[in-house]
Symmetry: D2
Subunit: 152 residues, 4 copies
């Protein structure tokens, strides 16, 4: 289990560009006065939405076609607590890219401090939940943007 939650990876860390900033709300915090652990997954959603928007592939266009990026797995490590009204930087990048699967990596920073990091693993599905191949144009856009992870 500890190994399963480890951050070491056989792959080189992908480049994680700042794709958005986020101001912490009361709504995000819990009685410990820190951001509730599940709410980092909202920040991850913002991260991948803005990463793909920046690549010219906003999810909205896919959703309009009934295509979704289903989440098959997530992990998050909490390094330091974030508090009410903190301004957080959301970093995101592609960590792995397969034929029908993709892993997106994230880091949440407050200034120079790492608050949290993690990853989501996705597969593309249609409206009925059936798996789809990643569009080749999307793969080409990632390559053009230098966002493809190095081959292992």
């Amino acid at each position: 289990m500890r190994r399963a939650l480890a951050t070491t990876s056989p792959h080189a860390e992908p480049p994680l560009a700042v794709v958005a900033t986020y101001r912490v709300l009361f709504a995000d915090c819990d009685p410990m006065r820190v951001v509730y652990y599940a709410n980092y997954l909202r920040l991850f959603e913002i991260g991948r939405a803005e990463l793909f928007r920046g690549l010219g592939y906003p999810f909205r266009a896919y959703v309009a076609q009934g295509v979704y990026l289903a989440v098959v797995g997530v992990r998050c490590h909490y390094r330091r607590p974030a508090h009410y009204d903190d301004e957080l930087a959301i970093r995101a990048g592609i960590a792995e890219l397969g034929r029908a699967r993709m892993t997106v990596a994230y880091a949440i920073d407050r200034g120079d401090e790492r608050i949290a990091d993690g990853a989501t693993e996705h597969c593309v599905v249609d409206d009925a939940g059936r798996p789809q191949r990643l569009p080749t144009a999307f793969r080409a856009a990632l390559r053009a943007a230098g966002l493809l992870p190095a081959a292992p």
Copy 2:
């Protein structure tokens, strides 16, 4: 990364008792009409709260003393989508227990189907975020309940 998200573990799987049931709300679902991925972490919270309540260690007593079970890591695998109004069984158990750290494992089922599973890693902290040892009485209660994981 794929390895980091893997479900295989060097430790034997802990016993995961059903500790609560949950009825899926509109509030829990997203435009794919399935439970939003972050909301499973709410179900995990219900799982560990009810696991500890069942052991005679409700979190409330600790919170009243300014002691919290901080989350240092989480992972979740999504096996099948859950839908509006589904009745889900929440299973939880202790997967690892150290001096100041603990891993809780979860499974979310709908009837015979596995919907999701995962784990949270915790350390005990005081109101100021300082690490605390796990109370020995708590460890004894786990042992008495047969909930301690087998030594590796």
Copy 3:
């Protein structure tokens, strides 16, 4: 504005039966260590879902047909704070019933204490958002259950 938020009403208060109980999570609370104000609207959702389930009209059957109870308005008054792990009783009842509109009233109690109360106003819509009439069978079920508000 104050008048618009007033709880006095030209109509008699409807009977508000306890339809569910709810245990407050960390996820529900904010840094004031009380339930975050938006989360009462989740409790209202539980309230109307269980009210209708109890009448033999679970929303799920409607959702499967592409019919939804859209919310056109909500109000909530916060009487006393609710805290982590509180067990709350959710009360709900029909406050007004028109041809295509309906108002559901709610109260959230902790033992003898009133924590919050409010109401949601709804209209029935189809999958495309077009208004629909309330089914006559539903109206009959409400009347049979003694849940129709007295005529003004």
Copy 4:
């Protein structure tokens, strides 16, 4: 009830400046593929936080002193649905100001369309929930900014 949810008001509408924009997430939407009704109250929180920050009174400074703006009531009217990835403008202004109470009004727009509007009623409380007077400097700042509602 219908009257209680009415938007007409004996007071002139306050000026509602755009104080923030918000991009709708998957996390915000429900199976009707519209923003879930409770999530507008998050947008209201953003609205009042940014309104007060713009006045030079960020909540954070108060929270650090153990002073909070408790919510005693809320109302919201849903005019049109908002969808995934919509960019919403959040408007906010002071609707009423008493000695220890304040009403903040909001509107949520998408371009020229009104999506929702509403109000929250607040009182200032300390860490223990005891009511406090609104600071006079705060009142002066509102007056200087032209944000005080006209006397009735």
